[in-house]
């Protein structure tokens, strides 16, 4: 007999002019694993933050076990058995696991008896769900996967019957994802209800028994997972049919145009982040660089694009040395030599978000003909160029005068991509090209990168999305702890193999 544990009726929520949730109705049955899928910005996280009491809905009702509840703060939802594991962990990094878990639920003014009881209870919970956490370790010493377990343990200790997980796999290696799913299944067997928020179709198919789809702030469908498939779900998410597989032509490589020899790079805190890296990229190939965030990819990209100083080693473009520890070209000089860079953090390094779209569309090339003559910008030509290129790259809305921060993530990325690709670079460095980008735009961006490759550009693709690396690259290298720990031709490589390399196991 299924009974609803959580019922949402007509939930509305606006942030300023953005209507993030429109008349949402959702019923979650007790003891199920319920998936909520939708693109970035579809309103999934907002909805769940309302259920967790972090945001207050403008209107609508929430019932837990058939009883209407009033959520003014997370305290109210915790009392009602709702727990949430946020995308960005809500942990105090210099606290121990124990301190983080009891925070707010100390049960006593001065630490003593209850602290001992908490330790015992937590040990029991760890054993029951095989969480394997040392309560005395400090959060900053733990891997991302373990931090997530601490979040789960925290919710369980606070008495969660409904556990909401917001994009839990974004930061995990495939092996860690397996571990997480094992834990979630065992929680489910013990009778807990799990709500999984994700934009990854495969996770919905793997784990959930029921699924709800959101699009642009609205709930567009509910179904049992066994009655649907990936293609159907993707279509519901985007609102039109989507190509999930890329068409890629046969590889035709030319000479090596970009070469990195023995490169070592330090970060701002003087920690060595890139250690003796060697890379070669040929014309007409995409080299994928996989790795868990924070293993030196950012510093590598910055050094290659001329933003960060090289500690030792050399970089060659077209067989000519462009950078070593003594002499290096700045980003502008590199640009003139045919190197384009789509940075990882587009809002910080790729765009001036307070500028208008047309300004960002020519930025870095603004001193060239026809955009400027004798240091004076040629407004008319810039606007007509912007209109043309926005149409070509399907940037929506097509208004060059709109402030850049008003475009969605996907369209902001298209603005950068169109600017950099328009110059037909010989070498293209791309960092996280589809982070926070919706499926429709992902498809478009991927196709453009393939086109560039077919036209003979050498492309370095740095991405933490393993699926992206696998579907685009001709060759894949894996980075761990600043070193290249493996290189594979992209034929019959599985994400498992790469996952082991990414975790530094092999």
């Amino acid at each position: 007999m299924v009974s609803p544990i959580l019922e949402l009726t007509n939930i509305n929520k606006s942030f300023g002019h953005v209507h993030a949730n429109k008349n949402i109705n959702l019923t979650i049955n007790k003891g199920t694993i319920h998936g909520i899928i939708g693109e970035n910005g579809a309103g999934k996280s907002t909805l769940m933050s309302i259920v967790f009491g972090l945001y207050q809905a403008n209107s609508g009702t929430i019932k837990v076990n058939g009883k209407e509840i009033n959520l003014r703060s997370p305290k109210d939802s915790i009392i009602n058995g709702i727990g949430m594991v946020h995308q960005h962990f809500m942990l105090v990094e210099n606290f121990t696991v124990l301190e983080n878990i009891i925070l707010g639920f100390e049960g006593e003014l001065v630490f003593g008896k209850n602290l001992e009881k908490a330790k015992k209870d937590l040990k029991n919970l760890c054993d029951t769900y095989k969480l394997n956490i040392d309560l005395n370790s400090t959060i900053s010493d733990l891997s991302v996967g373990f931090r997530q377990r601490v979040e789960i343990l925290k919710s369980l200790y606070r008495g969660a019957e409904i556990l909401i997980l917001d994009e839990p796999t974004g930061v995990l290696t495939p092996q860690e994802v397996d571990e997480l799913f094992k834990i979630l299944r065992s929680l489910n067997e013990e009778g807990k209800t799990i709500v999984l928020i994700t934009h990854k179709l495969i996770e919905i198919m793997d784990l959930t028994s029921e699924v709800s789809v959101m699009r642009q702030g609205e709930m567009v469908g509910h179904t049992k997972t066994e009655n649907t498939n990936k293609e159907q779900l993707a279509e519901m998410m985007v609102g039109r049919s989507v190509l999930l597989r890329l068409d890629k032509s046969e590889l035709k490589t030319g000479d090596v145009v970009f070469k990195v020899e023995d490169l070592t790079v330090k970060d701002d805190l003087d920690v060595t982040r890139v250690k003796n890296v060697n890379l070669e990229i040929r014309a007409g190939e995409i080299l994928g660089l996989a790795g868990v965030t924070g293993n030196g990819q950012t510093e590598l990209l910055e050094a290659l694009s001329g933003i960060r100083r090289v500690e030792s080693g050399e970089i060659y473009l077209d067989e000519k040395k462009v950078s070593d520890s003594q002499n290096f070209l700045n980003p502008r000089q590199l640009k003139e030599k045919g190197l384009a860079h789509v940075p990882e953090d587009r809002q910080r390094m790729g765009l001036v978000t307070d500028f208008k779209a047309y300004e960002n569309l020519i930025f870095g090339y603004h001193d060239q003909q026809p955009f400027s003559k004798s240091s004076i910008l040629n407004h008319k030509d810039i606007i007509s160029h912007s209109k043309k290129i926005m149409e070509e790259y399907d940037v929506r809305p097509q208004s060059p005068n709109l402030i850049t921060s008003n475009f969605s993530g996907g369209n902001q990325q298209k603005i950068i991509l169109s600017r950099e690709l328009n110059e037909k670079p010989k070498v293209l460095l791309v960092g996280q090209p589809t982070r926070g980008v919706d499926i429709g735009a992902i498809e478009f961006i991927h196709q453009r990168l393939i086109d560039m490759r077919d036209r003979g550009a050498a492309i370095l693709l740095v991405s933490v999305e393993l699926d992206e690396v696998l579907s685009l690259s001709d060759r894949i290298v894996v980075m761990f702890d600043g070193k290249i720990v493996g290189e594979k031709e992209n034929k019959n490589v599985t994400d498992r193999e790469l996952g082991l390399l990414m975790a530094g196991v092999v």
Binding site: F15, F52, L54, Y55, S73, P74, K75, D76, I78, M84, H86, H88, M90, L91, V92, E93, N94, F95, E99, N100, I102, L103, G104, F105, E106, E108, L109, V110, F111
Partner: protein
């Protein structure tokens, strides 16, 4: 035995001079551990000194003066909270505003009430705190070592001196051994973690600021109703800033902050002692040079010796829940 009594009097003055620094540093720890920058220790100390002196003068009781000083400082802390916690203003700007306001306000009020710009009337013995002689101090004075330590160093201080050094272990206990302390430290490191644990971030910061106000009031009252018998213009003389430096030097930790305060107090005691003393080979050191010693030490310590002081992670950032 001249040397020994010199050392004893030096330690004695170190304890006295460090007292306002200790109160102020402990006050700073509460505010900053909760994530709120407190640059306004200086202004609040000055306010407390003024209110305590005026209060004692009119009410005839230094304890009532202290009470009024506490009320005044807690109000100023709440003002700082209102601007920077509730209305998410810039915390440094709010502090600077308070500091400037108090310098002007105390001078102007003194002029209006007592006819002398920035000076309050001298307090009688009934209206101020007197030195406390510990029991048996006189009879033990002649016992070697013990007598020196007990009678010459520990006895004969103002009540605030004893309170200051009792406050330090109390602060340590509250910050590290109670659930309030856990929440306090968490709210300065990651307010989102505190919010999602069902605790009100704003209420936590206001509570921390209230404690901050109480503690800093003691520092001001010590200046105007104990070591001095009146308030004079800008009498806090940078002690609030020095305490802030000591707190940073002590890495926001009561024990190490105490050591820093004592060190600053010691250099100050030393400079007073060294004034006019002829040193062999060098001769008499100019007073101005010696007076600069504590400040030079601050700069040197902060710049070089301490290593990187890691502030609470969320310090200076107003908490914004919804994007």
């Amino acid at each position: 035995m001249e040397f020994l009594s010199d050392i004893a009097s030096l330690i004695n003055s170190t304890l006295r001079i460090s007292t306002p620094l200790v109160f102020a540093a402990m006050a700073g720890i509460f505010a900053e551990r909760s994530g709120v920058i407190d640059f306004s220790l200086e202004g609040k100390m000055l306010m407390a000194a003024f209110v305590a002196a005026v209060g004692s003068y009119f009410l005839g009781n230094p304890w009532l003066g202290l009470l009024l000083a506490i009320i005044a400082c807690v109000s100023l802390s709440m003002l700082h909270g209102f601007a920077s916690v509730t209305y998410k203003g810039d915390q440094v700007v709010s502090c600077v505003a308070i500091n400037i306001l108090i310098i002007g306000l105390t001078t102007a009020l003194a002029a209006a009430w007592f006819g002398q710009a920035g000076l309050t009337p001298t307090l009688t013995e009934d209206q101020r705190f007197l030195e406390v002689n510990l029991p048996f101090a006189e009879s033990l004075r002649d016992v070697p070592i013990v007598g020196t330590i007990y009678s010459d160093i520990l006895s004969g201080h103002y009540v605030f001196v004893y309170l200051a050094y009792l406050t330090v272990p109390l602060v340590f206990w509250v910050v590290f051994k109670t659930s309030f302390g856990l929440r306090l430290r968490a709210v300065g490191e990651n307010p989102s973690a505190v919010d999602t644990a069902g605790i009100n971030v704003f209420a936590m910061r206001y509570k921390a600021l209230a404690i901050n106000g109480v503690l800093i009031a003691f520092a001001g009252a010590h200046l105007s109703t104990a070591v001095n018998a009146n308030f004079f213009r800008e009498m806090s003389a940078g002690r609030g800033y020095l305490a802030l430096a000591a707190m940073i030097f002590g890495k926001w930790h009561p024990k190490t902050a105490l050591i820093a305060c004592l060190l600053f107090g010691f250099t100050d005691a030393l400079q007073i002692r060294l004034q006019g003393v002829e040193l062999p080979a060098i001769g008499e050191i100019p007073v101005q040079l010696i007076q600069a010693l504590p400040y030079v030490l601050t700069v040197v310590l902060l710049a070089g010796f301490v290593g990187k002081a890691i502030a609470p992670n969320a310090i200076g950032q107003p908490y914004i829940k919804e994007r």
